[in-house]
């Protein structure tokens, strides 16, 4: 069984090395400041053997944009959830973890395409699914769709 490490214990560990990085934690996840993501991720990769990045997801909560990372260790079979938030909706930026895990390549491009979060340090940051002239970022809550049938219109 993959053991989900406790968020608060990991937050304490990170806090010893990077005192200002952690902005919150609960029993499943750790929330860090967006500009410290790369250093905290490198520290976790070395100290907890987290060599496998399961996925990166982005969500638009209307006050802020959140990016979620699920990291797993194949050797020790445990995992931790790392989150970060961007308050600035016009130019949200997060450092890219491509240099630590190559698997972040297409996932970060997808989040840029659909949500507009720019990942600094990614070698090829451009749209993945939509064409270059497409205006807007579809997964944001202010991008409206007109869906016929199925559910009430917003």
């Amino acid at each position: 069984m993959t053991k989900a490490l406790s968020g608060s214990d990991t937050a304490k560990k990170i806090g010893e090395k990077y005192p200002d990085a952690v902005t919150g934690s609960d029993e499943t996840s750790v929330i860090v400041r967006s500009k410290d993501v790369l250093e905290v991720a490198r520290f976790l990769q070395e100290s907890l053997n987290l060599d496998y990045l399961n996925f990166i997801a982005g969500t638009d909560y209307t006050d802020y944009l959140e990016v979620v990372y699920l990291l797993t260790s194949i050797k020790d079979n445990h995992s931790i959830v790392l989150k970060t938030r961007c308050e600035d909706r016009n130019h949200p930026t997060v450092p890219s973890v491509f240099s630590l895990w190559q698997g972040a390549d297409f996932q970060e491009r997808e989040i840029y395409d659909l949500l507009g979060i720019y990942f600094e340090g990614h070698p090829n940051m451009k749209r993945l699914f939509l064409w270059a002239g497409f205006e807007g970022h579809p997964l944001r809550k202010d991008f409206k769709l007109e869906v016929p049938g199925g559910g009430k219109k917003e």
Partner: protein, 367 residues
């Protein structure tokens, strides 16, 4: 005398007989050898994640069918696992066994197609594929008996499956499963010593163990590179801890290794289905859940070992009947991260075969 050479750009456009679906590659050649490869996606991007936010949880089950359309039952099951985790819904025993039988039949069908199209790409145009199709049609007949559909099933529900198995299902399944090992041996005998297959796949497209872990690869591609990681054993979901099966791995990491892992997994599928058929109890198949139910506020990640890799759904709920965020972890998109590294230095034909051995489905890559 020195020759002036120039690199050439060839576009393997979205419509091509061997790109499994609409996939485009811009390939730069230095003579005959590939120097650079840039994949272009998005030709089947339908906006499922955005559309799913406008429909209730139950109405999203058909969307999950149409993502990886060669393994619809697994997609349904992964989504139901995620919602059941989010809303704490219990699943009855019989339903769990039925789900396992369906998921393993689906894995069998998907691997048959994967091997068939892999050989198609190599030039054995249609003959092995028609052999694999013969078995696949039998599996599709079984599915049609259960839910009426051949390709996009919409069979699983939150809390179980939508209806019980009809009486003629079990005898038909038994006849099929008893004959399957002989067919797998037939394919193996036809293909394993084939010179062309060996020459074109051994040593081609080698993926090292470190790169496989670093690039978040999952599924048969990861296991063919020597990493012993299978979610059914390492993070058991549903009732997989009650079955005995081997995790097939291979150390070489080339195209031939991926082919052998898939053939081995087909045999393990047959074994799991036989064990499930013996152990299945009688009982209900569904916990009643209101169609427009409201799960509690929170988030959940439900995942399973699909035929192509780790398929997961990350759901965020805000207490309303519609999901706030519906995110899919697509195993095939993430497996394509290494395509460029595997193809550079080889010729174009090898790149096509490597691409076929990664086994992708564009509906899931683009969503």
């Amino acid at each position: 005398m020195t020759l002036e050479t120039e690199p050439v750009l060839i576009n393997m456009g979205p419509q091509h007989p061997s790109t499994h679906g609409v996939f485009r590659m811009r390939v730069t050649f230095d003579g005959e050898v590939i120097a650079d490869l840039e994949p272009v996606f998005g030709y089947l991007h339908r906006g499922i994640e955005k559309l799913a936010e406008h429909k209730t949880y139950l109405q999203n089950i058909p969307f999950t069918d149409r993502m990886d359309y060669l393994a619809s039952m697994s997609n349904n099951k992964a989504y139901c696992l995620a919602v059941e985790k989010l809303a704490q819904i219990e699943v009855p025993e019989r339903a769990e066994y039925i789900r396992v039988i369906m998921a393993e039949l689906m894995r069998l069908s998907s691997h048959l197609m994967a091997v068939g199209f892999f050989l198609n790409d190599m030039g054995a145009f249609f003959t092995p594929l028609l052999y694999m199709y013969r078995e696949r049609e039998k599996i599709l007949d079984l599915f049609e008996m259960v839910c009426g559909q051949r390709l996009t099933y919409n069979y699983m529900r939150f809390g179980g499956v939508s209806q019980d198995l009809p009486e003629e299902f079990m005898p038909a399944l038994k006849r099929f499963i008893d004959s399957m090992p002989a067919y797998i041996d037939e394919y193996d005998k036809l293909l394993a010593e084939n010179e062309i297959l060996l020459a074109r796949t051994k040593g081609v497209g080698v993926l090292s163990k470190e790169q496989a872990i670093n690039a978040s690869i999952s599924g048969p591609v990861l296991r063919a590179s020597g990493v012993n990681w299978d979610l059914r054993r390492d993070d058991p979901y549903s009732i997989y801890d009650r079955f005995k099966f081997d995790v097939i791995t291979d150390t070489r990491g080339d195209n031939y290794a991926r082919y052998r892992v898939r053939i081995g997994e087909m045999r393990q599928c047959v074994s799991i289905i036989q064990q499930a058929m013996e152990q299945i109890p009688a009982g209900e198949v569904r916990t009643r859940v209101h169609p427009a139910f409201k799960p509690p506020v929170g988030e959940a990640y439900g995942r399973l070992e699909g035929p192509k890799g780790e398929l997961g759904f990350y759901l965020v709920s805000d207490g309303s009947p519609k999901p706030y965020r519906f995110k899919v972890r697509p195993p095939t998109l993430i497996n394509l991260t290494v395509l460029r590294d595997l193809a550079v230095g080889w010729k174009l034909a090898d790149a096509i075969v490597t691409f076929g051995s990664i086994d992708i489905c564009m509906g899931e890559v683009d969503r």
